[in-house]
Subunit: 302 residues, 2 copies
């Protein structure tokens, strides 16, 4: 799994800081998560393969998380996109995008599919053979979802050494990969576990922005390898965090600890803080494995 | 008059090129003309006084001319703007902006006034004591206006040497500034022209983007000092220009020549052209006084 932080600052884009957007590469997919203003420019700066993005997930309809969407949708049209594009986001997102395409008399030539969300429970929004994406209902000033990207458990890996002498057919290989025991023509049965290795454990990445401190998340985040959780404020502004329905670095670390995630990535910093080290220090008093998101930072896992 | 080109490229923003937006400083005003995606970032990069912008003029509802508007409107709210903001643009612009503010539950605390345009004739859209802004109806694929920014003729300038011996009252000064002859207490009358100089000629700036070659413009552009006219294409793509309702560099120069403008600034270049020199060369075969807009370029006149 590869994660590129295109932007991780809150509220307004500035000369050198960008609002929320992330590129999540998992299995053969390249998902775009949130799309703040000028995300298409960030994608170009990072030499992302623009046409490999087929699914865009929007957490909520505050501008710092989606004002770049209409520009990307329009640019795809001008660039001659022909493949379908799927957009997952709160109810209303379709109206916003289509109104602008209509008034510009510029309908897309490619298929543009909206999957509008309005449920308050976690639901699966995308699934194929290898991956599943579900919503993570958050607690913000407007209807908001995080997203959980889960790999599915892969096929068992053949132990080449152990099967070397057996002269197996392709069908037998498939049987072993699926976890079944092997039945030899002689009638002898060999336990699957002696001929295969466990598949790589499925990777789970969770994106949670924006939200107040929200304990119901803990259950949904169990077993997550990497959690991106907003930390707009430090504890010194805990009241402001509560009032604006955002989280402090310490609170994000509490969620990470309770859910026993592997790594916590913090982001969505308020521009009031000049230095980010304090976010790391504060979170690490509660949970050791914390890293700070930075615009343009690239994470590679697995 | 000061003109800052924030962006002058067509269609899509790229890593190093920006879509249309200009800052026009005239008299005490700082007008924003068009507002492509990420214009608020460009304004910050150029250290523009964001809160001095009270009037934004949008030519048409293609994304490369207005996708940055919602971001600027929202950022003003987050930055605590309290003064009124006036937006002039095609019918529909109000619905686009208000829909997004509504769904974000983020109404502005400052007065946001829309002046929607739908007339096909040139109309005055803003006027005060010193300045007048009118539409310049253009011929594009959607309803589009350019804008003409005209200073009004100022007061006559007192010839300090000529009035030195006269011991004039403030009222008499005002009379002279207004162009009236001076009546001395003795009854003697002195011609205004012997005591004053002509005021500075009023400056006229015209912005014309996007449009097909449109001869009716010539009459409206008479006496314009500086004309920004789109030149999306070169003559080699004249058919494409006609089809997409854009202009070639040569056609823009023909308009400039026929209207006898002072200077022609070309812009809105298609990204298909790597070098811009050909735009200058082509236009100068018809009209000598041509300059090329560049993102970030600053022009100062008068």
């Amino acid at each position: 799994m590869e994660l590129t932080i295109l932007g991780c600052h809150s509220a307004t884009p500035r000369t050198n800081t960008h609002t929320t957007s992330q590129l999540v590469k998992m299995q053969q997919h390249q998902f775009l998560v949130d799309c703040g203003e000028a995300t298409q420019i960030r994608l170009r700066q990072h030499k992302a393969k623009l046409f490999s993005i087929n699914h865009i997930f929007i957490s909520h309809l505050h501008g710092d998380h989606f004002y770049g969407l209409i520009g990307l949708v329009s640019s795809y049209r001008l660039m001659g996109r022909t493949t379908d594009l799927h957009i997952y986001g709160p109810k209303g997102i379709k109206e916003i995008i289509l109104l602008q395409l209509k008034l510009a008399n510029s309908w897309t030539d490619y298929g543009l599919y909206f999957h509008e969300l309005e449920l308050k429970e976690s639901v699966c929004v995308f699934e194929d053979e290898k991956i599943k994406v579900s919503t993570l209902p958050l607690d913000h000033r407007v209807y908001t979802n995080g997203f959980l990207f889960e790999e599915k458990l892969g096929l068992r890996k053949i132990n080449r050494e152990a099967v070397a002498a057996l002269d197996l057919s392709p069908a037998a290989f498939k049987t072993l990969q699926q976890g079944k025991d092997l039945q030899l023509p002689s009638g002898k049965q060999i336990a699957n576990s002696s001929l295969t290795f466990d598949p790589a454990p499925p990777f789970k990445y969770a994106f949670c922005s924006d939200t107040a401190y929200h304990e119901p998340l803990v259950e949904l985040l169990q077993g997550v390898d990497v959690l991106y959780h907003e930390a707009t404020f430090l504890e010194q502004h805990r009241d402001l965090a509560a009032k604006t329905k955002h989280t402090t670095a310490l609170q994000a670390a509490k969620i990470a600890k309770a859910a026993q995630v592997g790594t916590l990535i913090l982001g969505h910093y308020s521009t009031r803080y000049k230095e980010k080290q304090a976010f790391l220090d504060e979170a690490q008093t509660e949970f050791p494995n914390v890293v700070l998101a930075e615009d343009g930072k690239h994470f590679s896992y697995g």
